[in-house]
């Protein structure tokens, strides 16, 4: 057992060293951390200094209009609204940061949901092997071929819209439930290559139960590829969430996500382009950094695994 821990840490240390040498991945990590930090501490800070919140609509009717970035109502330079305001006079920066909270939350929680389903499914199929494996993987193939987003759209359109929080919960489940397929395939492949190795045989010989072998010995060893794929799942889930919110089926007002902010912004693109540009750009930068980080992690943790 002691021996295993030592080998484990050196693998992670090695990976860390490789990751640090990849400048783009490091930059991605910094940018992602900065955006996460900004969306956590940003809203209370803005509220403290300027009094604006994501749903604060000014009481003066003259202020209920869309101001360009860095412009005060009289047209002079001002730091009050670095991203301008939307048609209701709300501060776009505050809304983009709230959108960041929600988009990142949806991305992370749905990825965790997909991680749990995918790992359990893939590990079981890979370990069981034979007929069970074949049937389980056929199910995955079948689900792959289905345009599942259509079913998700139906689900959200018919069950959503009750409450903002209920809608969020629905999003977590729906997006998690459709993005576990690749995870299941990766974990299965790993488990198949691991299950015939000596340490599994030793565990079986000492009478460890099947479920314990899967949970204690096989799953931890698949961690590398799983982390890599999870990092790459976060941006793709965020993109799906943005699609749905853009179509009006995702996050509901008064909450906002980057997708729903972009959908609002597109209405007035000719007159007030900043309403689309800022949420869109923030989202693109975040996804860009997450993808670079994911790519870097993949190269660092598993130089052999080169997909996409």
């Amino acid at each position: 057992m002691d021996n295993e821990t030592i080998v484990g840490t050196s693998l992670w240390k090695d990976a860390w060293k490789r990751l640090r040498r990849n400048h783009l991945a490091v930059l991605g990590m910094w940018v992602v951390s900065a955006i996460v930090l900004a969306s956590i501490v940003g809203p209370p800070l803005i509220r403290h200094y300027t009094g604006f919140t994501y749903d604060y609509i000014p009481s003066d009717p003259k202020l209920i209009k869309s101001f360009p970035p860095f412009r005060a109502p009289d047209g002079s330079f001002s730091l009050q609204h670095p991203m301008g305001t939307d048609v209701a006079g709300r501060d776009i920066l505050a809304r983009v940061l709230l959108g960041g909270r929600i988009s990142l939350m949806v991305g992370i929680i749905s990825t965790i949901v997909s991680l749990i389903i995918g790992t359990a499914f893939g590990a079981t199929a890979g370990y069981a092997g034979g007929k069970i494996d074949e049937v389980m993987m056929r199910i995955v193939d079948v689900l792959y071929a289905i345009p599942y987003m259509m079913v998700v759209i139906v689900l959200l359109a018919f069950f959503g819209g009750q409450s903002a929080l209920g809608q969020l919960f629905l999003l977590f489940v729906a997006l998690g439930a459709v993005s576990w397929l690749t995870m299941a395939r990766i974990v299965r492949g790993q488990v198949i290559s691991l299950k015939n190795q000596e340490f599994v045989l030793a565990a079986r010989a000492t009478g460890v139960s099947t479920s314990k072998i899967i949970a204690r010995h096989l799953v931890p060893n698949t961690l590398g590829p799983v982390i890599v794929y999870a990092t790459l799942t976060v941006p793709s889930v965020m993109l799906l969430e943005a699609f749905l919110s853009f179509l009006g089926l995702g996050v509901q007002a008064p909450l906002a996500s980057w997708g729903s902010l972009a959908a609002d912004g597109i209405q007035n693109i000719a007159l007030f382009p900043w309403q689309l540009i800022f949420p869109g750009l923030t989202m693109a930068i975040t996804l860009f950094s997450l993808n670079f980080l994911g790519d870097g992690l993949r190269d660092a943790l598993d130089p052999q695994m080169r997909k996409g």
Partner: protein, 304 residues
């Protein structure tokens, strides 16, 4: 080979039925109905509406009718588009979506493969770095940002292209580019990594040792293996492309299947939803089958 195709085609039918049943079940479990709109309808009229669309029968009769409709390829009449059958709507909307989708698909494949392969052949060159940087942007830039930004620049600032609506020709350019960007980027990355892997393999070294020209090595040997990841992605890509089409049709206000699908969902127009879901599932499943067959021709290791 023939047995494989027949078996897969036979599996397609129950799979479509599963998807359709799932959708139908979701619609039926949900609260509310297509006639629960803003304005309340008198109960007598509700009864008449129910009788007209067969909604007064027990659920298993309705389910049976829906399945039988699906098997016959006739989905009945739309609940919201007055006097139009679902099939008429499908027939009208399909050309729009199919044109955009196919053009985007072809554009993504050509540009993606060309740049992916060139990047692999000139690894670490300026071309490689620029095309991979563009590919990364393509993967990270949501199409609902890319589309409007293109509209803003090309249509509203420089007046080069029409900003929206369906009109063929020049109206196609912006939607097709917007839709294909993500897949183009993805395919370029897949083609590059696939080619890089193949170029390092033993059989390419053998081909070199045999004294073949670089051009022959690439066209005869490397491309076949190197593009396998692209081929296997091109199946699921179609399913993803359909998701993208929904958004693009929304941005450019195109009367395609995606736009009808969203409206049908908002209107709770059950026959139209079922019709579109069934139709798209069939298309996607058949396309996946074609991809699998193509895979067998390209990869000599695959046996059916």
């Amino acid at each position: 080979m023939l047995r494989f195709i027949v078996r897969r085609l036979l599996v397609t039918v129950p799979m479509v039925l599963v998807v359709v049943s799932l959708t139908w079940g979701l619609i039926r479990l949900a609260p509310g109905n297509f006639y629960t709109g803003e304005k309340p309808i008198p109960p007598a009229i509700v009864e008449n509406l129910k009788a007209k669309y067969g909604l007064d029968k027990p659920w298993y009769v309705q389910y049976g009718r829906m399945i039988s409709n699906t098997l016959h390829g006739d989905f009945g009449s739309s609940l919201k588009y007055q006097g139009q059958s679902v099939n008429t709507i499908l027939k009208a909307a399909l050309p729009v979506s199919a044109t955009i989708g196919l053009l985007a698909y072809l554009l993504a494949l050509t540009v993606g493969i060309v740049f992916g392969v060139l990047s692999a052949l000139r690894q670490n060159s300026t071309l490689d770095y620029t095309s991979m940087a563009f590919a990364m942007i393509g993967i990270s830039l949501p199409n609902f940002v890319l589309g409007p930004v293109l509209v803003l620049l090309l249509s509203l600032t420089w007046y080069m292209l029409p900003p929206a609506l369906w009109g063929g020709g020049r109206h196609l350019i912006l939607p097709v580019v917007t839709l294909s960007a993500l897949y183009m980027a993805y395919i370029a990355r897949l083609a590059r990594s696939g080619m890089l892997e193949v170029l390092r393999s033993n059989y390419i070294r053998t081909a070199r040792a045999k004294g073949l020209s670089e051009w022959q090595i690439i066209t005869r040997h490397a491309l076949r293996g190197g593009l396998l990841p692209v081929v296997s992605f091109s199946g699921p890509a179609l399913a993803f492309l359909i998701t993208g089409t929904v958004v693009v049709e929304r941005i450019f206000a195109l009367p395609g299947l995606g736009n009808y699908f969203i409206n049908a969902n908002l209107n709770r127009d059950e026959p139209l939803i079922i019709g579109i879901v069934a139709f798209i599932s069939i298309v996607v499943l058949i396309f996946n089958l074609l991809v699998d067959i193509a895979y067998g021709f390209i990869d000599p290791r695959v046996r059916y």
